[in-house]
């Protein structure tokens, strides 16, 4: 049998289609072919190409695959140059060439069509945000549900004033490119305004140089806007160190020695969360935490008096300031979640009628 096969000829693969790979930075051509009818007897396939403009140049081998494979990507094409491709079946050093493909050239794309869904999501959400913010501008009172941790902020500041002890505000350990840090800066502004009305010292330690500069602006402006710039002290906002646990060590030091009446932990946190929260609890401070770091939430919940969970952190500046524009954006967030819920439920429901909508959610 083997003896016979060697002298038999095999059919090559057919319908070799070459096309520019979509949505890429160029220089790649995707090939697809139909398997040779003798596929199961073959060793595999080799892929050959040649430049069309180079005249009668020979085809050059550029790669190979095992049998049963129907596609290949030539990632070394030169953009704008026309190529022809041939796929050949291989058996014992003998090759059986297919007809050449239609010539094709690769090119980089300027729009990624596989990401239309992300674009649509951004457009819809931006539209909703713009709508609700504009609507809010007209000043109609918007409802916001009670958030226990925020209702306690006033009490926390008052308590510190009574005790004559400072307030410690840790704006998280994330740099300014974490949106949680930006949310924390907004809350810091509101807290600082309340502090400016009382006579309480404030300590804002920072891990990042950029957040330090922002925090300083925010606190200073809060004191100015409350009409008591003279109460602002340069030492309120401090830079500590970028080292995560060096920062945590310094904070525990402040907690044990300055004995703050209230500690705020608001922003992005990592493992150091419990070091700070547990030390603060042992020092007897009243503690309010807020973070979107899912993994640190259990520790704050365990060791702090109040904790803003996840998105509550992002609702906080609207809640505290009651500014219509911010409340409007909260409404947009709610509608965003509503759409997500409807997608989850409807896609699940429809899928049982054999309509699979999941590809809509897929991003390339």
């Amino acid at each position: 049998m083997t003896f016979l096969l060697i002298f038999l000829s095999f059919l090559p693969p057919n319908d070799v289609i070459a096309r520019d790979r979509p949505n890429d930075a160029g220089s790649t051509i995707s090939l697809h072919w139909n398997l040779s009818v003798d596929d199961s007897l073959l060793d595999g396939y080799v892929i050959l190409k040649r430049e069309l403009s180079a005249g009668e140049m020979d085809f050059e081998k550029i790669g190979s695959t095992v049998r049963g494979v129907t596609n290949f990507e030539d990632e070394n094409a030169q953009d704008g140059v026309q190529y022809e491709y041939v796929v050949a079946a291989v058996k014992n050093n003998e090759v059986f060439h297919s007809a050449p493909s239609v010539p094709v050239a690769s090119s980089p794309q300027v729009f990624h069509t596989g990401r239309i869904n992300v674009l649509a999501a951004i457009a819809i959400f931006t539209g909703m945000l713009a709508y609700f913010v504009t609507k809010a501008r007209s000043g109609k009172g918007l409802f916001i549900r009670k958030i226990a941790g925020l209702a306690a902020v006033e009490e926390a500041v008052g308590r510190a004033t009574e005790m004559g002890k400072p307030i410690l505000y840790v704006p998280g350990l994330g740099d300014i490119d974490w949106t949680a840090t930006i949310a924390s800066m907004n809350i810091l502004g509101e807290v600082a305004k309340k502090i400016a009305r009382y006579d309480t010292a404030l300590i804002v330690p920072n891990r990042w140089s950029v957040t330090y500069t922002v925090a300083k602006e925010v606190v200073k402006e809060a004191f100015i806007s409350e009409g008591s710039p003279e109460k602002f002290r340069e030492e309120y906002v401090r830079y500590v160190t970028e080292a995560q646990f060096g920062f945590a060590a310094a904070i525990t030091g402040i907690m044990m020695r300055d004995k703050p009446a209230t500690n705020f932990f608001i922003g992005r946190f990592w493992a150091e969360s419990l070091i700070m929260a547990e030390t603060g609890s042992q020092a007897g401070s009243f503690q309010i935490a807020g973070t979107d770091s899912v993994l640190q939430l259990p520790f704050f919940v365990t060791a702090c008096d109040y904790t803003l969970i996840g998105e509550e952190l992002y609702a906080a500046s609207a809640y505290l300031s009651r500014e219509p524009l911010l409340l409007g954006s909260l409404k947009a967030q709610d509608y965003g979640k509503l759409i997500v819920l409807l997608i989850l439920l409807s896609f699940t429901f429809i899928s049982f009628f054999n309509i699979n909508l999941l590809p809509i959610l897929r991003v390339q």
Partner: protein, 207 residues
């Protein structure tokens, strides 16, 4: 102008980074990598300000002989020494700089981190009380996971590890996903408000 220029720059940067996501063209990739290099440079400049603040804070403490001022000397001396060593003799793997890193910073950081083992124990003992339904559920699921992920779990009951795994993978995953989805919207809304100039507390105050 004091507000318009920074706001405009913020808007332009935000929009360009969003647009960049949708353009696979090599020029777009090049753009994003150059900008990232600039961002790092900016961080380095801001660090100069930050270190200035640190020096002033500790310098003040020493100058006014505030409580524990002696320790401020330790901080300043440590910083100057480490910076000098790194800048003067380099940062090769065998350099003094790396040695100090490995034998001073690493043990200090590692031990701070290790304190958490103790704090987890004291925090759990103090606050894991079955006060309400929610608190009881929290306590129970913590217990099941603590048993299930230890090798002795399977001797208590052969299905215990699977149960613990189930808690991690089903209810825990569901709640994490729910929280994450909410956070994503909060986060996106905040980022959008920043780009559109609706949220401008980083500019400080009203005017």
């Amino acid at each position: 102008m004091k507000r318009k220029i920074p706001l405009a720059l913020c808007f332009i940067m935000g929009i360009s980074m969003i647009v960049q996501f949708f353009i696979p063209h090599p020029a777009s990739l090049e753009f994003s990598s150059v900008i990232y290099k600039w961002i790092i440079v900016l961080m380095a400049f801001a660090l100069v300000l930050a270190i200035g603040n640190l020096i002033r804070h500790h310098g003040n403490k020493i100058h006014r002989r505030k409580e524990d001022w002696q320790y401020s000397i330790v901080t300043l001396a440590g910083m100057v020494a480490m910076a000098t060593i790194g800048l003067a003799w380099g940062i090769d793997p065998d350099s003094l700089y790396q040695r100090i890193y490995l034998n001073v910073m690493a043990p200090l950081g590692g031990t701070m981190f290790a304190l958490l083992a103790y704090y987890m124990a004291s925090a759990a003992y103090r606050s894991f009380r079955a006060r309400s339904l929610e608190a009881t559920l929290l306590l129970l699921s913590a217990f099941i996971v603590m048993i299930g992920f230890m090798p002795f779990g399977q001797y208590l009951h052969p299905r215990f590890p699977a149960f613990a795994e189930w808690i991690m993978k089903v209810p825990n995953m569901a709640s994490q996903r729910g929280i994450l989805l909410g956070v994503a919207f909060g986060s996106i809304a905040t980022a959008l408000k920043i780009i559109l100039g609706i949220e401008r507390s980083w500019l400080g105050g009203k005017e």
